[in-house]
């Protein structure tokens, strides 16, 4: 961009700025690697557009306050909150909103101390580490424990609030947690709610999306479904969804891990045959269908589905 002063008549090239920032590349990657999550992607696109337009406005000396980008991700287990947070750090770095673009992922343990006077230094240390990047607080509702009024979590929240207000240029705070618990958390901390501009809800995945996710996961690990296995897995997903403790993409990953175990076992059982590369890569229908979900429609207590 030229450093010359711009008059009212000067035109700016949004397209050139867009190309220069490489945002499209990041957004494409997001589209490729994250299945579904429509509202999340829309919001990220909006934020990207806002930051880009803001940068153009700066050329006309149209100063506006730095937009507050603190976010709250809510959604059921396994809907990709952490994955998106990681991606967010990268996107904000590209857009020049944060300087370093690293993600510091913490939970209550890292913020709250064990005795009086321990919490403030601990929280401040974490905040300082996250400066120039993104502070991701997983299970943020644990910070506030209403049943114990002497809990130190409140102290930590107060420091966070202060930092979120005063050091807006230095770091972005992302809270994550399950929808209803986060709502409770915000109800008891209205200050927190108002300081977070973006509340993004992660929807549950549909069966098609879960199948696409499964295939993507396998591809990154150099595995593939045979066509029968794919059909079997498509049958498996709705069955598994009906059972308890279904954690979206995480459950899919676990199911695939178990299928890999069975595949290894199957190959081991047929040792006398010579194997090709494709055999080592392919999950067969029997690896999927051996799951307990098909046989009895139930899980073990430890969540293991294999018939013993």
């Amino acid at each position: 961009m030229s450093a010359q002063p711009t008059s009212d008549e000067t035109t700016v090239d949004l397209e050139a700025e867009f190309q220069a920032s490489n945002i499209q590349e990041v957004l494409d990657k997001l589209d490729r690697e994250l299945i579904g999550l429509k509202p999340v992607k829309t919001r990220i696109r909006e934020i990207a557009a806002l930051l880009l337009v803001d940068r153009l406005r700066k050329q006309f000396d149209l100063t506006s306050e730095t937009p507050s980008l603190h976010m709250c991700f809510t959604g059921n287990p396994g809907t990709g909150k952490t994955t998106v947070a990681l991606r967010m750090a990268e996107i904000l770095k590209r857009l020049g909103y944060v300087r370093e673009g690293h993600l510091v992922s913490v939970t209550r343990d890292d913020l709250v101390g064990q005795y009086i006077g321990h919490t403030a230094p601990k929280t401040k240390e974490v905040v300082k580490k996250a400066m120039g990047g993104v502070l991701f607080i997983d299970e943020a509702y644990y910070l506030y424990k209403p049943e114990n009024e002497r809990d130190y979590g409140q102290e930590s929240i107060e420091i966070l609030l202060q930092v979120m207000e005063n050091n807006r240029d230095d770091l972005v705070v992302i809270l994550a947690g399950y929808q209803n618990r986060m709502n409770q958390f915000f109800q008891s901390n209205p200050g927190m709610r108002s300081r977070i501009a973006h509340h993004v809800d992660f929807p549950d995945y549909g069966t098609d999306e879960l199948l696409a996710i499964a295939k993507l996961m396998l591809a990154t690990q150099n595995y593939r479904f045979s066509s029968e296995a794919e059909a079997a897995f498509a049958e498996y997903i709705p069955l598994r969804m009906k059972l308890g403790h279904f954690a979206n993409a995480r459950s899919v990953r676990n199911a695939l891990d178990r299928a890999r175990l069975r595949q290894a076992n199957r190959l081991f059982g047929s040792r006398n045959k010579s194997l090709k590369k494709i055999d080592l890569m392919t999950l067969e229908a029997e690896d999927i269908r051996a799951s307990r979900v098909f046989k009895e429609g139930a899980l073990d207590l430890d969540g293991d589905e294999t018939v013993k």
Binding site: R99, E100, H102, P121, E125, V127, K128, K129, M131, G132, G133, N167, D169, D170, L171
Partner: protein
């Protein structure tokens, strides 16, 4: 001070230069972070050159990525001790070095009275010299 044209205490890096601005400090902090050094903020009101151990303002800061956090701590210290000497130290933990690698003053009292030369008559008409800070005549905390 006797040989110092500005009449200010000169210790550590950059002390003959005009006071560092926040941007300049940020650049120095960035350099220290790029080397992986742990940075700490310390303060004192005893300017004697042999006073090496200053009070720590909070623990040293490890694993930081961005200077903003350290600058925040420096500004906190300036607010708490506006009339003290404040220095920033960088410590290298590399094996074989394991010692401070940077040290520079980022805050000093408005008025530095300087040092007097003290002569002591020793045995056989020998003279022993030492320096004495006028500021330390007053008790700690009331010096500047």
């Amino acid at each position: 001070m006797m040989t110092n044209p500005n009449g200010i205490v000169t210790q550590g890096q950059f002390s003959f230069l005009p006071p560092l601005t926040d941007e300049q400090i940020t650049k120095q902090l960035k350099y220290a972070l790029s080397k992986g050094w742990a940075t700490s903020v310390e303060y004192t009101d005893d300017p004697h050159p042999r006073n090496t151990y200053w009070e720590m303002f909070g623990p040293p800061m490890f694993d930081l990525k961005d200077p903003a956090g350290i600058l925040m701590e420096i500004n906190n210290c300036r607010k708490t001790f506006p009339n003290h000497y404040i220095r920033v130290m960088a410590f290298s933990s590399v094996r074989g070095v394991e010692s401070p690698t940077m040290s520079y003053i980022v805050n000093r009292p408005k008025n530095e009275p300087g040092f007097g030369l003290v002569r002591q008559e020793a045995d056989g008409r020998n003279i022993r010299y030492t320096i004495h800070s006028y500021a330390t005549d007053k008790p700690e905390g009331e010096r500047y």
